[in-house]
């Protein structure tokens, strides 16, 4: 069976998903992954992939996924920040792909901080 994806499939994704556009609008929740050398070495890219997969699986289109550089807390990488509008910025440390579903369900969907992974909070 030949089943090769092509740019035509990308066109279909665009056409079939009207909801896609809501991901870019402002005032939404944000997830920020540290992608400095330290983050990359600790597995930040795998965490990023896990985040995108979990958001897709749950159909969460109102969350923006971003990356940032090293913030000087290299020993706690991979670092993931979650920002809900109007709430303090929560930084999670030593996040593995396996922690991602929990952070997304508990924090993004239900609004509860995943205490055992938190390394800091700032306004």
């Amino acid at each position: 069976m030949k089943k090769i994806t092509s740019l035509e499939d990308l066109r279909k994704i665009k056409e079939q998903s009207k909801d896609l556009t809501s991901a870019r609008s402002g005032g939404k929740m944000r997830i920020i992954v540290g992608m400095g050398t330290c983050g990359i070495a600790a597995g930040a890219r795998e965490v990023m992939t896990a985040i995108l997969q979990e958001l897709e699986k749950r159909g969460l289109t109102d969350v923006a996924v971003e990356t940032t550089g090293c913030i000087g807390m290299c020993q706690k990488e991979p670092l993931v920040d979650v920002i809900r509008p109007g709430e303090p910025r929560t930084t999670y440390g030593e996040v593995g792909p396996g922690d991602v579903p929990r952070i997304i369900v508990e924090h993004i969907v239900n609004g509860n901080i995943v205490e055992d992974k938190v390394v800091g909070q700032t306004d």
């Binding site: 030949k2 089943k3 896609l20 990359i40 958001l55 550089g69």
Partner: protein
């Protein structure tokens, strides 16, 4: 050290983006006859003068203030040197930088290619306003894609960051590389179930 070549590419490209490059070209050359793998990252960022270029291989040189060591380039150079490869940085202040590193494929310490699709996807999601061109050369064959081509289809650059599109891009690149490396085997879905 980073674990594989795809992580080095991500790290070097992140440097390009921090240098305000609006366009980054990522090329991988897998040469089975010359037994060589080469990575090349070309950007149009603000570049470096000769003094900075020679200093950058020193782990205790960095422009950042968050920490005082910069390990990305020294790691890559060391990995390349260990594998009998060539490492080169060419840069022109105000014009851009080219980082090129090669590795002997049969070297026991040659890092694996790693997840190159995830690297390109991560760059496109992290920096959707910048342009990326990705080329994978396998001997005489070429797979190529990039922001320009994708945005032409999407007609909206901001869609690059949506999970569905991002994961599709990763899969598209994975398939393209697989296709080249298996000599045109089209049974990608059957042989490469996620």
């Amino acid at each position: 050290m980073l674990q594989d070549l795809s992580q080095y590419i991500l790290d070097i490209a992140e440097n390009s983006l921090k240098a305000e490059a609006s366009r980054v070209e990522i090329e991988v050359f897998e040469d089975t006859r010359g037994d060589l793998i080469t990575l090349k990252v070309t950007d149009n960022g603000y570049g470096m003068d000769d003094e900075q270029v020679s200093a950058i291989e020193n782990p205790f040189f960095t422009t950042r203030t968050e920490r005082r060591v910069g390990l990305g380039i020294p790691f890559l150079k060391q990995a390349s040197d260990t594998c009998g490869g060539r490492f080169e940085i060419r840069s022109v202040k105000g014009r851009g930088t080219v980082v090129e590193a090669s590795f002997k494929r049969d070297c026991i310490d040659c890092p694996p290619l790693g997840d190159i699709p995830a690297t390109v996807m991560t760059l496109m999601v992290g920096w959707p306003e910048r342009d990326f061109l990705f080329r994978f050369n396998f001997d005489d064959e070429l797979f190529e894609t990039g922001t320009e081509e994708l945005v032409q289809v999407l007609q909206d650059r901001s869609l690059l960051v949506t999970p569905e599109v991002a994961l599709w891009i990763s899969r598209y690149i994975e398939q393209g590389i697989y296709h080249l490396r298996t000599g045109g085997n089209e049974d990608f879905e059957e042989n490469n179930q996620p």
